[in-house]
Amino acid sequence: MNFRGVFAIYKFEMARTQRTLLQTVVAPVISTSLYFVVFGSAIGAHIAEIQGVQYGAFIVPGLIMFTLLIQSISNASFGIFFPKFTGTIYEILSAPVSHLEIIIGYVGAAATKSTLVGLIILITSGIFVPLDIMHPVWMLVFLLLTAVTFSLFGFIIGIWADDFEKLQLVRLLIITPLAFLGGSFYSIDMLPDFWQNVTLFNPVLYLISGFRWSFYEIADIPIAISLGVISFFLASFVIITRWIFQTGYRLKN
């Protein structure tokens, strides 16, 4: 194992975060605060408790998961797309690093960044609403598992994308709508029967539901199913990434 090689990639990617500190850390804090001002105080004050949880507190897991998904995908996709775009990918391809080591470096850094942002949002939320995390270990498991899984997805998007438009396409047109409609701001019990059934096809629902369970022990979906869905995504993305490296898809001629 080329640990120094893995660390070099990881450190290089993390250094980019430092250069873009405002965008990476401050922006999510501000947007989260705005969500709490709008949904927590202005609108939330007129919404009754959901399954015994105050509305402002209810949306915290959804907000964290929502940002975690977007950040994981953005960080990882940009991390691998940029060297492809500038041509510096030659250095990674000609270095004595295995496919696994490349993935650990890039995906590890992206997952670290998004997890940190998730935790920052959690702390920021604590300023606005009383937080009660009933299963902190499970909360961390969901947080890390989702960060790694969707960073891997972002890595795949970054390799697939051959221009900046494609890089944003999946995040803006697929992930963001799914995250909004996956129960970030409501319980699916609040929907009519038809839309409840439609929502069951939204994979993000399972992530948010499981994560919310770790906070308040309330869930739209049984916890085991949520874990199973995340594991399924992780396994699928691992298989796709393996295929990419085996074939050299959009990396090697």
Binding site: G5, A8, F12, G87, Y90, S94, P96, S98, K252, N253
Partner: protein, 308 residues
């Protein structure tokens, strides 16, 4: 001299169907400077890219220090440094950050004094904390060399290292390359500047249409394939070469003001003495005479023409 890179029956066909390399066989000797010469699209960069792991070969094999580049890629790549043709750099990174990254990527522990030596040898030490975006084109070129050297490679590939570089910097780079060769580093460079190969290469390989046409010691090549020309500047322009001189391989140039006699460099009898006598008998007088030896470029153009 032992063989450090051994290429056997190497072929590459791209997905578009373009056949970039056809059955290349080439041995690169340890500690030499080998120049790969060829026109655009000849396959030089593809060949280098395969050895470095950037392009996947279609068939054939490459061994570096007797290890296969695919099955034992970690060991072979650790020995190789690559300076790419394009100025591809991490725009927002600093010079030091970029070099430290490369050294780490190749599994080497930090060595501040070695990195300082490399940066000083390339006149980049003063710029170590500057962002790459602020560097000039020449500095970026030197940075790419510094990055390639940062992990102490035994083999260095330079793909068009002096493209777009001014004369002074080019000479500095030649000195650097010679210095590296003296420390035992094997250097393979592709270049469009044939005089560059003539200046610094020990051996030369000509590539055309994905095939190696010839590989030889530079001096031997120029001796074997080179020709000499005797150019006579005439007092009176000639309209045609007299019959009495038809046995010589001669031609008139510049409206008959110059007479050019081409002869084999290593033939036993070059016939110059006889030519001088015959010229006198033909009543042809000349003001001046010069001799020219064909350059590597002449040899290259001649070989490519013969091949096509």
């Amino acid at each position: 001299m032992s063989i450090i890179v051994s290429i056997s029956k190497l072929s590459k066909t791209y997905a578009s169907g373009f056949l970039a390399l056809r059955n290349i066989d080439l041995d690169i000797r340890q500690g030499e400077i080998l120049a790969l010469l060829g026109p655009n699209g000849a396959g030089k960069t593809t060949l280098i890219s395969i050895i470095c792991g950037i392009v996947t070969p279609t068939s054939g094999s490459v061994r570096v220090a007797d290890r296969d580049i695919i099955t034992d890629y970690k060991r072979t790549r650790a020995m190789i440094g690559l300076v790419p043709q394009e100025l591809t750099t991490e725009t927002f990174e600093t010079v030091m950050g970029s070099i430290t990254f490369t050294r780490g990527l190749f599994g080497k522990s930090p060595d501040a004094s070695y990195i300082e030596d490399v940066l000083r040898s390339l006149s980049l030490w003063e710029k170590r904390n500057s962002k790459i975006i602020t560097l000039s084109g020449g500095m970026k070129r030197r940075l790419l060399i510094a990055k390639a050297l940062s992990h102490e490679p035994r083999i260095l590939f330079l793909d068009e290292p002096t493209a777009g570089v001014d004369v002074e910097l080019r000479k500095d780079m030649w000195n650097l390359i010679r210095g590296l060769r003296d420390t035992g580093v094997t250097i393979i460079l592709t270049t469009h500047y044939i005089e560059e190969a003539e200046e610094i290469a020990d051996r030369v390989a000509f590539i055309s249409q994905g095939e190696i046409i010839v590989v030889d010691d530079k001096v031997d090549l120029m001796r074997k394939l080179g020709r000499k020309r005797l150019v006579l500047e005439l007092f009176e322009p000639l309209r045609f070469i007299p019959d009495s001189l038809s046995s010589y391989k001669m031609e008139l140039k510049d409206g008959g003001r110059y007479m050019v006699y081409t002869y084999d460099v290593h033939s036993e009898r070059k016939g110059i003495t006889a030519l001088m006598t015959d010229l006198g008998q033909a009543g042809i007088r000349y003001k001046d005479m010069t001799t020219e030896q064909s350059s590597l470029e002449d040899i290259f153009v001649d070989l490519v023409r013969r091949k096509s």
